[in-house]
Amino acid sequence: MQWETVIGLEVHVQLATKSKIFSGASTAFGATANTQACAIDLALPGTLPVVNAEAIRMATSFGLAINAEIGKKSVFERKNYFYPDLPKGYQVTQLAEPIVGAGHIDIHLNGETKRLRIHHAHLEEDAGKSLHEDFHGMTGIDLNRAGTPLIEIVSEPDMRSAEEAVAYLKKIHSIITYLGISDGDMSQGSMRCDANVSVRPKGQAELGTRTELKNINSFRFVEKAIHTEVERQIDILEDGGKIVQETRLYDAEKNETRSMRSKEVANDYRYFPEPDLLPVILDEAFIDQVRKQLPELPEAKCQRFIEQYQLSDYDANILTANRALADYFENVSTHCKDAKLAANWVMGELSAALNKNDTAIEHSPVSDRQLGELILRIKDNTISGKIAKQVFDALWQGQGEVDQIIKEQGLEQVSDSGAIEAMVDKVIASNPQQVENYRNAPAEKRGKMLGFFVGQIMKISQGKANPQQVNELLLKKL
């Protein structure tokens, strides 16, 4: 039987506010346990929440970026359940009246564009963390993260493959980082993903029973976890079994999903409007102001790159997937006034180095200005493209500025015709057999044979001889 996969994603994004959604404690990551949890975050008796304006603005900007209706009136509710990382015994979230209504995003996959609908996005508070290291057989609770603002973005079940799910997630990532509302760092939990996965016979309208895959914390794992779960479901169905609606955890090491011990026998969250907070009312003027402040978004930037820099669709897509990368490219390009070379270097040497060292573009040891200068030195023939890679490595290792490295390491291209002529003479003199072969060879084979002499000269010059001049002189002398 032909099976069709149906995927919906719930993505939690931590907003990059300075303070928490309902308190004035810091949201900075990595502090000592419970040093960034104030009386409100610890749910001390008598404490009350007040909404952070910046969280509202950030959520609104996300809504506008996905072409959603912004909730002019949004209402916080209490979602009641007991868990040690949830100090109040309820999570303040939104349900019936979220701040962001229905919207959509477009993904590009295999040369095709597909529109994916977003059901809504709502604001809520994050929980604390349970630390399972052994405290005499007990669990430790750190509430630093409690109260960090989140938007939960709930998609429609519009995705039909793991690849689409990843593309969707990457698009969300690129939107939130473009907007500057989150660092989107999945490894630190700034962006977390739950996937609802089901399969059905192709052509069937009714959805199959779904399972929920919890907390998948990298793009790669999202794809693998969904693949694994889809296979598991198909195996069960083909063996005549039934899928149990449940929450499953993806084990990356074993590459399998397993059932989580059912969290609560029957989840009954008893939502009701949070009486300590009043409805958040947004007027047109506020929404317009946020709209005006929206940065250029990935789609628009990609189109502009294609037109302004004559980049291919492919290159433009890669360069605009990440705002920091796009900004970096544009800065390099502006500096060296050669978009093509800039694109090649950013997607080539730079990206390779970043990948290899697992470094984010924001932390690149080679700055956009330095890379721009490096390209300028190629363009003005100070160094060859090959030597440039050597300079790039030196920049990466922090050995100084471009011109300084070229100078100190004596990498400048030798363009002095006298010096080059001497080298040419020396090579011709010391390789009589090759010279004779060359001279006897037919013209169409000579081009290739010339390479040997060029190589020898480059060896002597340590790559610094101007290749054009070397070629010219060799042709003349041979």
Partner: protein
């Protein structure tokens, strides 16, 4: 709407309240009385009436995004029954 012993056990679980066997009947009876009282609501004609969560039609004020609270760990953990290394301790949580 009447409430059974079983209902009481279920909501006591949701509310994480230990209720001992001996008082369960009494609790069920008194909850039944209270529910009888509140069931008078069912006679009210509320068609088209907007539910009212707050006495005033006030609007949420927003707080400027500024860090105003700094480390108060020592002071705030003083009331905690069991802590270690600045963490609250609870019986082992199994996910």
């Amino acid at each position: 709407m009447t409430i059974s012993r079983h209902d009481v056990e279920q909501i006591a679980h949701l509310a994480r309240l230990a209720i001992n066997e001996e008082t369960l009947n009494e609790t069920t009876r008194s909850l039944g009385d209270v529910l009888n009282l509140v069931n008078q609501l069912q006679n009210a004609d509320t068609d088209g009436v907007e539910p009212m969560a707050h006495p005033m039609d006030a609007v949420q004020r927003l707080r400027e995004d500024v860090v105003t609270e700094h480390n108060q760990q020592e002071q705030l953990l003083k009331n905690a029954p069991l802590t270690e290394q600045g963490l609250f301790l609870v019986p082992r949580v199994v996910d």
